[in-house]
């Protein structure tokens, strides 16, 4: 089992998918000879050439709209939007068409495509390069939204996304690209879309997160154990939509206390939906209000102030302690 970081694991998944299925094409701005501004498409153009690794003009609506056309015409496009903040330009195609063709034509026309985009903050990037707006896709029926948190699940989820018969938004926590390495099996593996994972067992409190903030969430869990002797259970959503209610509820009914962590702004964030589902299925098990540790209801500040904006282990720890003390 080779060790690799998330950037490499995503690159590996693309390479494997293109090798095993020649319907898979990669497209986007600078994904060709430049191999992507984060080098995620490294080696692909050299190996698969212009036809299957397509440098597009600078136009996000064009990228996603043509990807939809390609998917309708039998390909499996994996379209990269250079930064998730720019996928807004293509939102109409995703919401109106990628999400709807199957439903609109009662299954006759389908759009098996993936939109990949680096998402979130933490890399001292300039304005519009650190956005977290997964909600606008999670709220759009017909799309699936996944977000890996480490090299191994990144590769497995991307394979699942590419093989999925429906359109998948695959958001990559760019802060994790080269943050740490993990062993990744030699065999291709997939993770079922729609399933969360309990990545740390515990009985006292449930910490729920996804993507980049899984790191500080797990750190906080360790601190809780070391400093307070509290056993925190940690859930990694992995899929944001459709959300795995069952795994969440099973943990909550056990612990009765919950903290949810994400970078995106709080209002109408993913945490709100998690809370709504806890309310529907496990209200009577709650021993304290569910706490939200999230980005504030602001555009993420320019990078000099972004650290204070982002969730971190201390914020999660504080929230967990307040929840436990409630």
């Amino acid at each position: 089992m080779p060790e690799m970081n998330m950037a490499k694991a995503i690159n590996l998944a693309l390479f494997e998918a293109m090798t095993r299925d020649d319907r898979v094409v990669v497209m986007g701005e600078d994904v060709g000879p430049d191999e992507g501004v984060f080098r995620i498409t490294e080696g692909l153009h050299a190996k698969f050439g212009d036809k299957r690794v397509i440098d597009t003009p600078l136009a996000e609506s064009g990228i996603i709209g043509t990807a939809i056309g390609m998917a309708i015409n039998g390909l499996r496009p994996v379209a990269e939007i250079q930064f998730s903040g720019f996928d807004y330009y293509a939102y109409h195609h995703l919401e109106m068409h990628a999400a709807r063709f199957r439903n609109r034509t009662r299954g006759r026309i389908t759009v098996p495509m993936v939109m990949r985009a680096p998402s979130g903050g933490g890399i001292r990037a300039i304005e519009h390069h650190s956005e977290s707006r997964e909600v606008i896709y999670a709220h759009a029926p017909g799309l699936k939204v996944v977000m890996p948190s480490g090299p191994r699940n990144a590769r497995a989820l991307l394979h699942a996304a590419i093989q999925d018969p429906d359109p998948v938004i695959y958001y990559e926590p760019k802060a994790c690209y080269r943050l740490f390495k993990e062993e990744v099996p030699d065999q291709i593996e997939t993770l079922p879309i729609g399933r969360a994972q309990v990545v740390r067992q515990g009985k006292d409190i449930t910490l729920i997160s996804y993507g980049a903030t899984m790191r500080c969430t797990l750190e906080a869990a360790e601190m809780l154990e070391e400093e307070d002797g509290v056993k925190a259970e940690v859930v990694d959503l992995l899929t944001i939509a459709p959300m795995d209610t069952q795994t969440i509820i099973e943990s909550v009914t056990k612990t009765g206390r919950v903290v949810i962590v994400h970078e995106a702004p709080r209002t109408c964030g993913i945490a709100a939906e998690v809370i709504a589902r806890i309310n529907e299925h496990a209200l009577l098990y709650l021993e304290a209000p569910v706490k939200r540790v999230t980005g504030y209801d602001l555009p993420i500040p320019y990078f000099a102030r972004e650290k204070a904006y982002l969730p971190d282990a201390d914020k999660v720890l504080l929230a967990a302690r307040e929840t436990l003390a409630f």
């Binding site: 609506s61 039998g74 034509t105 006759r108 729609g194």
Partner: protein
């Protein structure tokens, strides 16, 4: 270079073959077998009659609002006959004649305007997309479909449509640019009927033609008389051949007039003069094509009357069929709304489906209860 005109290769043309009186320019007359030409007229006539009947049905409240297509038959037919069955048809919404020609049944069309997704299902085995409501988006899909043909090495051509108003959308620019950069086999046909609902051409754009925008993409641009099915065909045929040869996209602009209101809920009196429509009445596409075919001895009153009867029967049957269908599942069943969102239904949708089923059954029984008590 001090200061001189920027010279760029212009590939811009105008084409007209049939005049208003059905007189043909022999030098440009395409060689089409007579029964084929007769067929073309039949399809255009059917497009017209279906459109007129839809209007009646809408007035009777039997279908919803819809955009009338009368007057657009020449552009729709002249382009659609230029592609082959395995080619792609990526419509906007005024190409009724094209839909019929591609095998969309009148039943399907009626289902669509009756508010049922079942009306958006393309004919089995055809590479057709359904009506695109968000203007210009279909052009980008068409470009992608064409790019995929290149990737797969398939020689299929994509015929797509948009309006003069749609030409203002950024997506139109992106679609034309992608198609030209990737030499995608796409024919972009603009139905320039000079109005976007109430907005006239000169408020939509500051240039004389849509065709000249081909210059922005280094592709051929052709403006044809959009009421002249032969001119449309000539332009479309050449564009399709170029596309099939790998020479990339063409922009065709068919100049016509929106003879009807924008949709059944529009009132043109608010923004244009009756006279304007009258001036265009004589230019209308069916009249001149019929004159031409009569001169060629292909049509006469008897043949046309027979066509009219066949079409009328076909329409009546379709209406009857749909009336029956609407009473049956799936058309009558709201719960099917959940069944095609994803290949596999996720748990939360199954829950919501059960929730609605529970509600409907419970409500039904409530209603019955009320009814009974009322009966006593």
């Amino acid at each position: 270079m001090p200061r001189k005109p920027l010279d760029i290769p212009l590939k811009l043309e105008t084409i007209s073959v049939l005049d208003e009186n059905g007189e043909v320019d022999k030098s440009l007359e395409p060689k089409i077998p007579n029964d084929e030409l007769k067929n073309w007229y039949r399809w255009m006539l059917m497009g017209r009659r279906v459109d007129e009947r839809l209007l009646k049905l809408q007035r009777q409240g039997r279908i919803g609002t819809f955009p009338q297509a009368s007057g657009h038959e020449a552009i729709a037919l002249g382009t659609i006959v230029a592609i082959e069955k395995p080619d792609w048809f990526v419509p906007a919404y005024r190409e009724t004649t094209g839909f019929l020609y591609r095998g969309w049944t009148i039943e399907t069309i009626l289902l669509y305007w009756s508010g049922l997704e079942e009306g958006a299902i393309p004919p089995e085995g055809m590479n057709d997309l359904p009506i695109a409501v968000p203007v210009a988006t279909q052009l980008v899909h068409a470009a992608g479909i064409g790019m995929a043909n290149n990737v797969k090495g398939e020689k299929k051509v994509v015929m797509t449509y948009f309006g003069d108003g749609a030409s203002s959308e950024g997506d139109t620019h992106e679609a034309l640019n992608f198609a030209s950069v990737f030499k995608a086999p796409v024919v972009f046909t603009c139905l320039n009927n000079q109005y976007a609902i109430s907005v006239p051409l000169h408020r939509q754009m500051n240039c004389q033609t849509v065709a000249q925008r081909a210059i922005s993409y280094g592709i051929p641009g052709v403006r044809v008389d959009g009421n002249d099915v032969l001119a449309v065909y000539v332009a479309a045929k050449e564009a399709v051949e170029r596309a099939r040869k790998g020479e990339g996209p063409t922009l065709i602009e068919g100049l016509t007039y929106r003879y009807t209101p924008h949709t059944t809920s529009d009132d043109p009196k608010r923004y244009r003069k009756e006279e304007e429509a009258q001036q265009w009445a004589a230019k209308e596409p069916l009249i001149r094509f019929r004159k031409y075919l009569e001169k060629k001895g292909i049509l006469n009153d008897k043949i046309v009357t027979q066509m009219e009867e066949e079409i009328e029967t076909r329409i009546q049957d379709a209406i009857k069929n749909v009336e029956r269908m609407l009473k049956e599942a799936p058309y009558s069943d709201p719960l099917v709304m959940f069944d095609y969102l994803y290949a596999d239904m996720p748990p939360h949708l199954q829950e919501q489906r059960d929730e609605l089923a529970h509600f409907l059954s419970r409500n039904k029984s409530d209603a019955e209860k009320k009814h009974e008590t009322a009966a006593h």
